[in-house]
Symmetry: C2
Subunit: 380 residues, 2 copies
């Protein structure tokens, strides 16, 4: 039996029991809210995690890259929403995934893109792509306004085409991350719901079907009061949790499932240096909104200690009371709880799945956008 | 001939001519300063870049992980300094690299670690490791003070051991990054030089050799007035440059060699959305010290435009004058110059090497700490 004292550092640890609790919590939320759960796999990027997240649900997932889509499809998870606005240069890859058997939903808010997609997909009516229209519910990232003319224009354009099926509407309340109370998040969740439902209703008023009404972010999925009229939600970070999500009251601190294991390489009266720096932790500072002293992550088991500075391969740990660092020696190992786990996990090839200090398994991740091999080395 | 309009996005572009200019500049600086250049490969993590950076120099390199050390050694770059304090759990890997033929310099500031290293290395006198003592020149990261008793204690301990050769002293003026003028950087460079030289002199006063007196950061290597008594310098970021380095006057803006190519996936009167977000750009904000409006990177060719917000796979571009965004359409491509290229490059599998819009080659990177394969999947 391998333990966490024997694995190379820095390493990404995943507490299996906490992951399972978090997955069960959100599966329960979806049932309570009467919607389907289409977990967003952008955080975990792991088929092993996807199997846990989809258990007890309908089996559909959300992804943030076409590399994820291909990887999950190969593992048998075929009902996939690629929830990032489609670039014209990604249409061929999306069509190829559909022709290989993926039920792939793609996203746009742009009529020119929709027109181009229709022209490219026309010959592929036996394995069509499904198109979702992106709605802006207040985040001001992508999306058309739910009451816009543009929404109906795109819906009408897609209606009845070969190669592209109209699937419905999708929105994401990214601005829930800026909220400072559960009440505020619940209000953003209501705005998110209302925007998606209004958009769907306007499309139905054209006499078209609008099967999918998709919302979701971990804070709004956790704190929504109801989701009437919505068909599915797509949270992702909830599987692992992080310090930012704890600040947003998405989950309690003791349910954060991921941490970075680091070795102490320098021990001084006022600080420790560990071998997990900006790359192993990421430079994301989101949790500093909730706690300005949190730095780049909280150190487990050392009261008031956090990574106050992160160079590429060096983390500098300090504590409110430096006395808590006194007994730590070079070679000791610490666990660091991340600010924003989506960013932190992305630097690692996969997870050491643990129960306490026992390493149960290793689960790989599908990072990046394109897999390079020696064969792709030379430019064509 | 492939062009940048045909490659998948987001993608990391490397301008070969600018890389070569930057490499020649620092090679010239080293000659001018009378020291050897041991380029730090933590930024580039590429053997193709290493060959350019070591051209005209003695061939030694610096690395930030043992994964880099193994990769460069396999490519024939055998004289390697691993410039991060050694963790006890990495000693076996370091010894294995030495036994495979690497001339590997390892680093510590800790007498217990040195003692443990000596005990582990004792049986390997035919392929010893070389040990450098880390000196703190004011950065307050790792290192003993140059005038400390601890310095001499470690030097005496290592002196004349089998399996571990005493190589010298090493320091890094990371605090040069906090400077706000070239004069200040020159002063930090002098502190860095003086600390290393003092430490070396004190060791020599014991009657020991101290062959290596190693300093280096890109700002101090660029702005040092002299490096008398120093034997080598280890800058790294200079090969590529970034917005932070331009702010530190390490190089002019037009010599930044790396950018991120992104596709526009949303175009609105006040903003663009591109498919390069927090993962493709990193969440590093260092260049905001020099320009608070720079966000997560500057957009090439759109005056006053930068990535003001970075979600995982979405970059939100705004401009001081939104009019400059008017003619940009979904599907257009933009290049984004990074804040801190070490962080940005680490998210990508490698470089598309370009000359303007022509793609000349693809150069892979050695990311991370451990290479995972299917065979390493199960815990032992």
């Amino acid at each position: 039996m391998t333990t966490t004292s024997e694995i190379p550092t820095p390493a990404l640890l995943l507490d299996r029991a906490k992951l399972e609790s978090n997955a069960a919590f959100m599966t329960g939320r979806a049932k309570q809210l009467g919607v389907q759960l289409r977990p967003h796999m952008k955080t975990a990027k792991s088929v092993d995690v996807a199997r846990i997240a989809t258990a007890g649900n309908f089996g559909g997932i959300t992804v943030s890259t076409l590399a994820e889509a291909r990887y999950f499809m190969k593992a048998g998870l075929r009902d996939i929403t690629y929830a990032v606005g489609l670039a014209p240069s990604k249409i061929d890859e999306a069509l190829s995934l559909a022709s290989l058997g993926a039920d792939l939903n793609v996203l746009t808010d742009n009529i020119e893109l929709a027109r181009y997609l229709i022209s490219r997909a026309a010959g592929q009516s036996d394995s069509p792509l499904s198109l979702l229209i992106e709605i802006d519910c207040g985040d001001r990232r992508g999306g058309v306004a739910p009451d816009s003319a543009a929404l109906l224009e795109i819906a009408r354009l897609v209606n009845g085409r070969a190669g592209v099926l109209f699937a419905g509407v999708l929105t994401h309340a990214g601005h829930s991350y800026a909220c400072s109370s559960v009440n505020e998040i619940a209000q953003v969740a209501e705005d998110e719901r209302a925007a998606a439902v209004l958009a769907a209703q306007r499309i139905r008023d054209l006499g078209m079907a609008c099967d999918t009404v998709s919302v979701g972010s971990t804070p709004t999925a956790t704190h929504a009061r109801h989701l009437d009229g919505v068909t599915e939600m797509r949270p992702g970070v909830y599987m692992f949790g992080d310090l930012d999500q704890v600040g947003l009251e998405s989950l309690p601190d003791d349910r954060i499932a991921v941490s970075v294991l680091a070795s102490v390489i320098g021990a001084y009266p006022d600080r420790l240096i560990v071998d997990a720096g900006g790359l192993a932790l990421s430079k994301d500072t989101s949790a500093q909104r909730h706690n300005p002293n949190i730095g780049y992550g909280r150190v487990v088991g050392l009261r008031g200690a956090s990574v106050v500075k992160a160079n590429q391969e060096h983390g500098i740990i300090m504590a409110e009371d430096p006395g808590v660092l006194r007994d730590v020696k070079v070679g000791d190992r610490v666990r660091i709880v991340p600010n924003h786990v989506c960013m932190t996990a992305a630097a690692h090839p996969g997870y050491y799945v643990v129960n306490g200090t026992k390493v149960l398994d290793r689960w790989p991740r599908i990072n990046g956008w394109e897999q390079w091999t020696v064969a792709t080395r030379k430019a064509k």
